[in-house]
Amino acid sequence: MIVRRLGKKTGWIGILLLASLRLNAQQEVPVYLEGEFGVDRFGEASIRSVFPAGAVIRLGAAFALADQGRLRLRPQGGVKYFGNKIDEEITEQLLVIKAGVQASYDVFFIGQATFFPYLGVDYNWVSNFDMEDYGEEDATYSENYLRGSGMSQEIGLRVQIREWYVKAGYELFRPRLRAKRSIIEDDLAGGYLTPSSHAFRFNTLNISIGFSIQP
């Protein structure tokens, strides 16, 4: 179910990107197809102890706009994934689906390396669930224990050599996650008061490698 939802969201993001590229082709604004893969690490020690590291994938279409194409605006979509292996069969998962925009500016270059400071804003859908995989058949997924959404902001620097780049950024993200109703009810029966939602500090440091090509 969760995987299907993820597929739907990423599918829509892909359609939007393709539409952007086609629109650009008609208007003849330079556009680059960009994709990146990286690792994420939470800034908050308590969350980092649960999810030591995660992976992030992003895809976007960057439009070279003002100042001789030095300003780039990139509508983008992506997925962040954190796993926490509870035992041999069960892995806790934290999935963040992202959609937003990133602005970068070609400030200077040294040799073949071009430096792009960037700012990004994303809207994020967060879900936390378990995956059970006993190896014999398809993995099964639990209902979400926690879920929610919220805006995130990211600031960082990208260094590009020809079509390839490396980027490092810090993302500020404080989503309010809601606990599954049955968890709240079970806690109450056990004598504990659990709030219906809680704001987590999901700030992350990430390092990615990516490509930027003109189709």
Partner: protein, 353 residues
């Protein structure tokens, strides 16, 4: 093809999970707070609440089998002092800051008095052990009445003792032959009501006697049938409630001359307490009921706290709004006349661990 896809998925997931064995789960970081203070286990684990009294906003004092407690903030913090309750037997009565405990002690009854809710006690000698004490009644001016019975040669005799606090001596005040005592209540030192039954009368009836001279002379005012083991709650000088555990309740609005049957609710009635000019609460075996017209009409309260029904064996209302209901292992309180309730003590697993 499907097989290859599966393999790719497994490889990708394995790569992602490499080095991702965390400690605990994200849900562990989700906040929660215990509803009751786990430290209250000292009051109910191998122990039980015997008596509790609400003093003010959240200040509760009381005694358990093993000691005395006091909390100023509904058990967020509390003091507990080991002071074992002598024995489980005996009869307990309290009012107006005076707690009286009568316990059998060899050839006599030992009377214990506490003016600080069980923290310290003074003792005196009570009636002889041949007297079977039914009730200890404490009136608003700290006069204590002991209602008892004695069997002598087939004669069941009603005995009423009065104790004045300064000398704490039990004085035999009134006797009535061939009579079974049932309950007593006083408003002040002079006006009292006595429930009794003739020795040979059916067990389903009760007679009501009154006194206006401090219990020396009693006049039979009326009788009620269909009540087995009645209790008595005085609302004011004219209104009194007579009820039994089965739930049959009778209200008099003329000082006990006549009674009309009223319905408090379904189930057993444990006790009733007047909490104001017209407000009376009834503790039922399955909840709490409230009357705002002196006991004539009653409404069951939505009495629950965090999904737990309010139940107990006793209650104490400080005023119309603030009161507690408690039992051996629980204590609830309300500050809004029973509309909402909170927990002070409850035997959750984490309390009894």
């Amino acid at each position: 093809m499907m097989h290859v896809c599966k393999k790719i998925k497994v490889v990708l997931v394995s790569l992602l999970l490499l080095g991702c064995d965390g400690e605990g789960t994200l849900l562990d970081l989700y906040p929660f707070e215990p509803i009751v203070n786990a430290e209250t286990r000292v009051l109910i684990q191998d122990n039980q609440l015997i008596y509790a009294r609400l003093h003010g906003r959240l200040h509760i004092d009381g005694t358990t089998e093993k000691g005395w407690f006091s909390t100023p903030d509904n058990f967020q913090s509390f003091d507990f002092e080991d002071r074992p309750w002598p024995i489980a037997q005996g009869v307990l009565g309290f009012a107006d800051g005076l707690l009286v405990h009568a316990i059998p002690n060899g050839a006599t009854w030992l009377l214990r008095f506490s003016e600080d809710d069980g923290k310290t006690w003074e003792t005196s000698e009570g009636p002889g052990a041949a007297v079977s004490l039914m009730q200890v009644a404490v009136t608003a001016n700290q006069t204590v009445w002991l209602l008892g019975a004695q069997e002598i040669g087939g004669n069941s005799r009603l005995l009423l003792y009065r104790i004045d606090l300064p000398d704490k001596r039990a004085e035999l005040w009134y006797t009535k032959d061939n009579t079974t005592p049932l309950a007593i209540g006083f408003l002040g030192r002079e006006n009292g009501w006595l429930l009794y039954r003739g020795q040979y009368e059916a067990a389903e009836g009760v007679r009501i006697g009154t006194t206006v001279d401090g219990g020396r002379e009693w006049t039979e005012r009326s009788a009620i049938s269909r009540v087995t083991s009645p209790s008595l709650t005085l609302v004011d000088a004219n209104r009194l409630l007579v009820y039994d555990r089965a739930g049959r309740t009778f209200l008099s609005s003329d000082g006990g001359t006549s009674f009309e049957e009223v319905a408090i609710g379904t189930g057993e009635i444990i006790s009733c307490q007047s909490a104001g000019e017209n407000v009376v609460y009834a503790l039922l075996d399955q909840g709490v009921a409230k009357s705002s017209d002196g006991g004539k009409s009653w409404s069951p309260l939505e009495a629950g706290a965090h999904g737990v029904r309010i139940t107990g064996t006793a209650m104490d209302f400080y005023n119309e709004q603030r009161g507690i209901v408690y039992g051996p292992d629980r204590l609830f309180f309300t500050v809004d006349g029973g509309k909402s309730w909170r927990m002070g003590v409850y035997p959750y697993d984490y309390v009894l661990e």
